[in-house]
Amino acid sequence: MSTQATFRIWRGGPADGGFRDYRTEVTEGMVVLDAVRSIQAESANDLSLRWNCKAGKCGSCSAEVNGRPCLMCMTRMQDLPLDRPVTVEPLRAFPPLKDLVSDVSWNYRVKERIKPFKPRAADATDGTWRMAQADVDRVQEFRKCIECYLCQDVCHLLRESRNHDEFVGPRFLIHIAALEMHPLDDEDRVGDLKQDHGLDYCNVTKCCTDVCPEGIRITDNAIIPLKERVADRFFDPFLRLLSRLRRK
């Protein structure tokens, strides 16, 4: 199988950006990243894009292909219609830099604001801990995250409403869930979730779960349990009464 295909690729920066068409050969088994790299090597040497592992493990080559956020390295050409141009553009929830690259530095700043892991005292005299595999499994689901930020890109709170100052986004809610459900962690982030991380903004539309290339059930397994913890802390009538009594 070998056929010519047209790619409509976003070129340029914030001020002068627009789509430009490129043709390249598509062969069996190719993914979008292969095609874009061929175009780069053949006819657009200065085309900006990010990629590293080419195997869906590093989360660098995130882009929007035919309008859908995806990893270019895991999107196979055979799954796309080639009778019309394949559009490739950068993640739109973040400021555009150039071509297929957007400025994702906000995500790194958000992570620094989240309280880090703080282990409880060791279980054994040699300074080590004991954990059951079942407890580990639950958290490992979240730790599979490759930080591709597709969930951030698709989240309407970031993409449309631009609540970057108020809401940390699904990626960091699963990061917090991984810390909160870590069997060894002693830190308390429930107050921060409500006051600083904007958990209440999320109205569980599950768009993040739909695009996760790792298949993490972001909404069901991370966000909803976190919302329950916040509700227990802030809205439990008995606890509220108790805290009011204490304040007196």
Partner: protein, 605 residues
Amino acid sequence: MTEARTFEYDVLVIGAGGAGLRAAIEASAAGARVGLVCKSLLGKAHTVMAEGGIAAALAHVDGRDDWRVHFADTMRGGQYLNHPRMAEIHAQEAPERVRELEAWGAMFDRTQDGRILQRNFGGHRYPRLAHVGDRTGLEMIRTLQDHGIHRGIQVHMECTVVRLLKDGPRAAGAFAYERERGRFLTFRAGAVVLATGGVGRAFRISSNSWEYTGDGHALAYHSGADLMDMEFVQFHPTGMMWPPSVEGILVTEGVRGEGGVLLNSAGRRFMFDEIPEAYAAQTAADPEEGWRYTQGDKDARRPPELLTRDHVARCIRREVREGRGSPHGGVYLDIAWIRARLPDAAQHIQRKLPSMYHQFKELAGLDITQEPMEVGPTTHYMMGGVRVHPETQMSSVPGLFAAGECAAGLHGANRLGGNSLSDLLVFGKRAGEHAAAFARQQGLGAVDESQTRSAAEEALAPFGRAAADDANPYRIQQDLQVLMQEKAGIVRRGTEIEEALHGLAGLDARARRAAVTGNREFNPGWHTALDLANLLTVSEAIARAGLERRESRGAHFREDFPVKSEEFAHCNIVLRKGADGAMQLRREAVAALTPEQDAIIREMK
């Protein structure tokens, strides 16, 4: 525009994979002001691709394991060209480095009694690899990243160093560009740690990403440091073969550790056909014993699929060359067969090898729980690198340190799987610690402007050149990869290596004409052009060392000298830049074993 912003650090770490992050954390803990430069975004380094695990003699699964066994295994795997003190330190300190990761939040798979679980791997006598399914590298880099960002380390993302700066004989900093705007940065530093990883982009079939162009190797070499063991390039036996776009992507050794077998086109389990003398006593007598080993039977010996990577890669190549390969030029790796042994085999495979299941399903449309995979050798790892002091990781240039893949010494002629992640932790930590101490004692070096000016002019030169077909930097890189793959790859001949050297000279001339289109902002064409010089330096080093070693040992296989030679049994090949700019080569005796080390090796034979 050649002016540069200047940053000052006590310790500048170049590279933010496992070794660089670990070094930065340690230097910061020692009170140093630390700058960390990474070529990509933080957390994307090739460490994420490591699948199998971290080798450390924790003895959680088999109480007979201890650092002495790990030391002996590492030396045997490296064919005794390793620096024995590095192998010793590595084996002794790896368990503590793993436990430390857990204290920083890493979550390894568990034993029944809740401790860190360990798995079998090629060349390791006992189950030794702490792991997280088959995504251990991601767990490690994320743990280090999330720990490191709260330690006051200044991270310069998407920033590439093009030259090391010196103050007389000592390292004094680095000159770099940042990708986003293409602006230059000058780093003044008391000490510099190289943690830049490997050289995989010098070959056509590779598991490495665009970043691995031998930057640290070349930076160190051009600033006067010694390179060592450059002939030893590890070709991982199992890379993906089909479809073409995925050729070279890694298939973890963990597949074989979980019971996967290698078969030729006739369905024969060919790994039983040739078992090296040094491993005969440790290898299963038949498939039944091999299966029992993978299922944790402590009395069973390992199946031949888990022999060292160099040997397995050559057996695969033999099957293909003799006409018993798979349709796309590899062999079959079959894990689906365990259906015959385990009632819930499909779920078991998905649980033990989730990312492999995912990778084949998504990229090849193949269900590994039902069908065999097609696999073949892929360029994976560089044993050779900057020659360092075994205790401090300092190179022959004062103040210049190296750790991880870009350093030499630990692995000798062949690295055991799982010893890379532990290498990053053990020697990353040591490099950070000693770099901080060096910086504290020596203070900042002086940086004279003539060095940064000439580096800037050189970096900008590709913009002034006329575009031409043979001056396309991507094409020059591709031609170099084909040349090295064919003439200095998994099987080498003296005449072919000479052709490679000749070809490299031609490519060097072309690289000096490499032309760039567009401007300096996030321009991968420009970056590719700048990487060429590093690729050419390491390729020449690989070829020269490979030509000199007229024997076959470990990962270096010479068809014209197919057996080991006593002449080369006790020497490392060392390369240094001569006063005339030419690459100078010499043989040096391997560091001697202490009587204690010698006794351990004899006992474990």
